[in-house]
Amino acid sequence: MVDVVENGVVRIAFKDRLDATNATEVLKTISPTLEGLEKDLLLDMSALEYISSAGLQVVLHCVKAAQKVGRETQVSGMNANVSEILNISGFLTFLKEV
């Protein structure tokens, strides 16, 4: 569902689906990482197949947590469908794709 790895950045790797069926659980899993954030965030979506508005709220939570401590959030590895959803939702105006 989600992996968290800390290196030069904090990398959060979402897997399979991020939607109304699992968003609460994913948020619960990553919350301790977001609360103690001291580095930039990288949202790795290379293994993410599907995202809905519930998943977008998780992404937004990550961005807000990083902004709160003056850090940036980057996103990588989006498939075409996930990228389209982030784009039409306006998220790619404030998320930097790497």
């Binding site: 809905s52 508005s53 519930a54 937004l60 939702s89």
Partner: protein, 118 residues
């Protein structure tokens, strides 16, 4: 049907049965999820019916539910302009309207009917 899980099972079976390409399955799942989540929350519906069809003009989704009047086409929220001005909720119905070719709604005798073609 009574839950999102049941609706998604129907969508997944329909995608396999009709051998839909991935991008169409993605949109069908997205529209179904967003509508069902909203109808359970806002229309206070206890059950609903979901009918999917593959037509010449596209994929048709007919959702009906008894409950309070809830018109998903009435939402006027757009994309997020900034993180600071973001508020929870509303994005789901914006996504539905963004991927739908057409969206029709009617309310008759206490039952909501939503028909979408994607």
């Amino acid at each position: 049907m009574h839950s999102l899980d049941e609706a998604l099972d129907v969508v997944n079976r329909f995608c396999r049965k009709t051998n839909l390409e991935e991008s169409h399955c993605f949109k069908l799942r997205l529209v179904s999820e967003e509508l069902v989540v909203n109808l359970l929350k806002h229309a206070k519906a206890e059950s609903f019916s979901l009918v999917l069809e593959k037509r010449e003009e596209g994929l048709s989704l007919l959702l009906s539910y008894a409950g309070e009047r809830f018109d998903p086409s009435a939402s006027d929220l757009g994309p997020l302009d900034s993180v600071e001005e973001s508020t929870p909720g509303g994005l789901g119905l914006f996504l539905v309207k963004s991927v739908a070719k057409c969206l029709n709604y009617r309310y008759e005798s206490g039952v909501n009917f939503v028909e979408i073609v994607i």
